[in-house]
């Protein structure tokens, strides 16, 4: 039994953004899974040593503040008295000492006193506030996105949002793609990135590789969104789409060839690009709820295999929502590419699928096509 000292740990019952693949902290907190696992594992150990009346409290309260814990830990075994470390109102040194003997646990008696109760409450409230802030941020983003929907690209991106976010570190992304199978998700995500970080910091440029003489799609110009000419951004996201022949027609992503193999498949590319958004952003793959993740992954999988017809998609859109999972997600972007590829082979394919047609135009509006 060990415990990680973490001053920022969160009680088990507190609801956190559910995320499967949390990699980075959301506003300084560890995301869902880790913290709740920790919280749970503490409970049985504690309850064994505590009276019934205290159990609930323990469940609710966070684990002891770590710096003290650490000190206690060291003192164990050297000397029994922990009085000097404990607050004056230490109620049961006996219990503590017994615990120390038995398990060597660092169960701190502060848990049981009232002053800590207050501190814990403050902490919880603080965390709730932080969480609220995340929610509000998300809402603000959503509002920006909605506001920008109707506006032209230029005014939208030079609007409020560009000032708020800065690119954390420069990144140059290369997407190799077959001109017969354009990865439109890159266009959607570039648009979102530009809305977020400003058109002075995010660019999309397409190139034709000399080995590829195939005709480019008529709307290949969508893949050109240069930086503002007077851009002074020191940190930028530059996405280059290179039209060339790729294996199986699957686009591939290269960021740093010296340490990575090319990442293939538009779904994987879209996931990566979505993660370049701030982590509070609804499109960010890691902010999806568990429910949505499985739906998005399912849709991504389907899109990756290529569409044989539009019936399933029509069915999926029966709920009258504008997008596949309610809000726009990377699944919509990748599926869009698949549908366009399908419609290229079957120009009249969408005729009997009104919802798909509607969804297509929602997507186009969303992406400012």
């Amino acid at each position: 039994m060990y415990q990680i000292n973490r001053s920022y740990d969160i009680p088990a019952q507190m609801e956190l953004p559910k995320s499967m693949y949390s990699v980075r902290p959301v506003n300084g907190q560890t995301a869902g899974i880790n913290s709740s696992v920790n919280g749970n594992s503490e409970i049985p150990r504690r309850s064994g040593a505590l009276s019934e009346s205290n159990r609930n409290f323990v469940k609710d309260s966070p684990k002891p503040i770590s710096p003290r814990n650490k000190k206690d830990d060291k003192s164990v075994g050297k000397r029994k008295s922990s009085g000097s470390k404990s607050p004056p109102r230490n109620k049961s040194p006996v219990i503590k000492n017994e615990r120390d003997k038995v398990g060597g646990s660092r169960m701190a008696n502060e848990n049981l006193n009232n002053s800590f109760d207050d501190a814990a409450r403050d902490e919880i409230i603080g965390k709730l506030e932080a969480r609220q802030k995340i929610v509000i941020d998300k809402l603000l983003h959503l509002r920006d996105v909605l506001n920008n929907l109707g506006a032209t690209a230029v005014t939208a991106s030079s609007g409020g949002s560009s000032a708020r976010n800065e690119v954390a570190s420069s990144v140059e992304v290369v997407v190799n793609a077959d001109p017969a199978n354009p990865p439109y998700s890159v266009v959607f995500l570039t648009k979102l990135l530009r809305d977020t970080y400003g058109s002075a910091a995010v660019s999309l440029q397409s190139f034709r590789h000399s080995s590829c003489q195939n005709k480019l799609a008529a709307n290949s110009n969508l893949f050109n969104k240069p930086l503002d000419a007077d851009s002074r951004a020191s940190k930028t996201i530059k996405i280059s789409v290179i039209w060339r022949l790729v294996e199986d027609g699957e686009p591939e992503l290269i960021v740093q060839p010296s340490v990575q193999a090319p990442v293939t498949g538009e779904a994987n590319i879209a996931r990566y690009l979505s993660r370049l958004l701030p982590s509070v952003y609804p499109i960010h793959y890691d902010t999806l709820s568990w429910d949505d993740i499985i739906r998005v992954d399912g849709a991504l999988e389907k899109a990756a295999d290529g569409l044989k017809d539009l019936n399933d998609l029509e069915q999926q859109l029966q709920n009258n929502q504008p997008f596949l999972c309610g809000e726009a997600t990377v699944a919509d972007f990748v599926t869009y590419s698949a549908v366009v590829a399908y419609l290229q082979k079957n120009p009249k394919g969408a005729e009997k699928h009104p919802r798909v047609t509607q969804w297509l135009s929602s997507c186009q509006n969303f992406g400012n096509f």
Binding site: S170, E172, V174, N176, F207, R208, H209, S210, S211, A229, R232, S240, I242, R244, I254, Q256, P257, S258
Partner: protein, 529 residues
């Protein structure tokens, strides 16, 4: 005549044996064999005094334009199966010949094209004629009349592999000395075939010493056609953009960039220098309202650099252009010009490129359209990512340039890219600083396969600022007075760059030495031929 011929045969044989001993033992063996065969044939020949092929072969009198004859010469490269059973006249070099009993196989070469000729003793060809043809020294120029016939199996060793020429008349137009300093076949052999299996190879110095022979190899025939095309596409691309071709003096009064690296020549009672760059003159043309100019001409560098990519004289493709608001206009023009050159070569010179690759294998040159533009700090970051330590304002060392080329190729898949925004500290005084960050400058280099081929920048067009920058660099203002004066009376903002033609050709073809793309290279150790 018959006796005389035999004599020459023996003499020739002895001479060629001596020569070939030097160059290629194998070839010598072959010659020995031939000599043995000839020796066998001698008694037969002496017996048959009558020569029914008389008047069908021999050595033509030296052409002094005695007669103007109307006749049609065919190009070897044009001859294919559609000529079957037709009689043709060609003028070509005798590349190789091999007599075997009553037959003789000859390979005729014209430029990069080769065709197999065949002589068989019979109604048309006499034994004497066969002997005469078998004894013509390699590299002699001959006129051949014969019938084209299809062959059942392709002749792999010839470019015209579907047909052969049944020779009826063979005339020597210009005879080569039998002793060749190098054999064309040896000089055009890929490195991979020499060495272990004993095939001989001609080293670079021997080739350059005998350039007039070396240039006859199909590879060189191709290389210099590609090089000509580089020049042509350079001109065409810029002509389309409204550029004016100008010619700048090569004898200049003073060293334009401070005095180092220039050749001093005597000039009547005083001395002058060979131009190390047409830059001042390009810029003066801009100041004189030509707006967009380019020039193609020799550039001289007195650098004692004995590397694979330095010459003391090379052909500079230089351009200069005034622009509206931003020097990127010029960069894009140059970038697109390169794209046109690359595309032109790719689409029109496939055969030549293939030919060169046969001897010097290389990967196909890859490029992006529009060209990739990177910024210097970006390049520094890429290098640091793989563990190279360098300061923000350091210039790229040659190994780092190479490495960066490989990194860019791995990520972007292109052999050509432009690197923008060099640190001001590593550029000449006339370079315009970056208005946003004084550490950097409005300057750029362009690279092919990781080697620099163009260096350029926005130039300072304001004489006062130019003076200030020159002082900052500690340059004696007297020495550059005429340069600064050129901008005193108004000059549009402009930028430009200079390209080394030989380097572009070398790197496009993936060759390893610039001496392969300079017809008569000049380097610190070579002033001949």
């Amino acid at each position: 005549m018959v006796a005389g011929k035999v004599d020459t045969g023996v003499k020739d044989d002895a001479r060629s044996k001596n020569a070939l001993k030097k160059e290629a033992k194998d070839a010598a063996k072959l010659a020995k064999k031939q000599a043995a065969q000839e020796a066998q044939g001698k008694p037969d020949e002496a017996d048959s005094a009558e020569d029914h092929s008389k008047g069908k072969y021999g050595k033509l009198e030296m052409n002094a334009s005695q007669n103007k004859v109307q006749r049609e010469l065919k190009r070897v490269s044009d001859i294919d199966t559609s000529f079957a059973n037709k009689s043709v006249l060609i003028r070509a070099r005798l590349h190789t010949s091999r007599a075997k009993g009553k037959q003789c196989f000859v390979v005729f070469r014209q430029g990069r094209s080769t065709i197999q000729g065949i002589l068989t003793v019979g109604d048309i060809v006499s034994k004497q004629m066969l002997k005469f043809v078998a004894n013509i020294s390699k590299e002699s120029i001959v006129d051949v009349i014969g019938k084209i016939q299809n062959v059942p199996n392709p002749i792999e060793s010839c470019t015209q592999s579907d047909v052969e020429l049944v020779c009826e008349e063979v005339w020597i137009v210009s005879e080569a000395e039998p002793r060749l300093p190098l054999l064309i076949d040896d000089a055009s052999r890929p490195d991979s075939e020499t060495g272990e299996d004993g095939l001989s190879k001609v080293n670079q110095e021997t080739k350059l010493d005998n350039r007039f022979l070396d240039l006859r190899t199909p590879t060189n025939q191709a290389i210099y056609r590609v090089e000509a095309a580089v020049c042509r596409f350079f001109r065409e691309a810029l002509d389309k953009q409204g550029f004016v071709e100008i010619h700048t003096p090569k004898i200049i009064p003073a060293a334009s960039e401070g005095g180092a690296n220039v050749f001093k020549v005597s000039y009547f009672k005083t001395s002058a220098y060979l131009a190390q760059s047409p830059q001042l003159y390009k810029q003066m043309a801009i100041a004189s309202d030509f707006e967009k100019v380019y020039t193609v001409g020799a550039v001289f560098r007195a650098e004692d650099s004995n590397t694979h990519r330095h010459l003391t004289e090379f052909v500079g493709l230089d351009l200069e252009m005034s622009f509206d608001s931003h020097y990127h206009e010029v960069m894009d023009t140059i970038g697109n010009m390169f794209t046109e050159i690359f595309k032109g070569l790719k689409n029109n010179y496939t055969k030549e490129i293939e030919q060169v690759r046969k001897q010097f294998p290389s990967e196909e040159f890859a490029f992006l359209e529009p060209p990739l533009k990177l910024q210097f700090p970006q390049a520094v970051k890429m290098l640091r990512d793989v563990g190279i330590e360098m300061g923000d304002e350091d210039d790229l060392s040659t190994p780092n340039e190479k490495l960066l080329g490989r990194l860019v190729k791995a990520k972007y898949g292109t052999d050509f890219y432009m690197l923008d925004k060099y640190p001001l500290a590593v550029r000449p005084f006339y370079t315009m600083p970056d208005p946003k960050d004084p550490k950097y400058s409005n300057s750029y280099d362009m690279f092919m396969r990781g080697e620099e081929i163009l260096s350029g920048a926005q130039r300072i067009h304001d004489s006062a600022f130019l003076t200030e920058r020159a002082k900052h660099h500690g340059i004696d203002l007297e020495t550059i007075k005429s340069y600064i004066d050129a901008f005193k009376y108004g000059c549009p903002p402009h930028a430009g760059g200079g390209i080394g033609m030989e380097r572009v050709t070398m790197l496009y073809l993936g060759l390893d030495n610039i001496r392969k793309t300079s017809m008569f290279p000049r380097d610190p150790k070579r002033l001949t031929p």
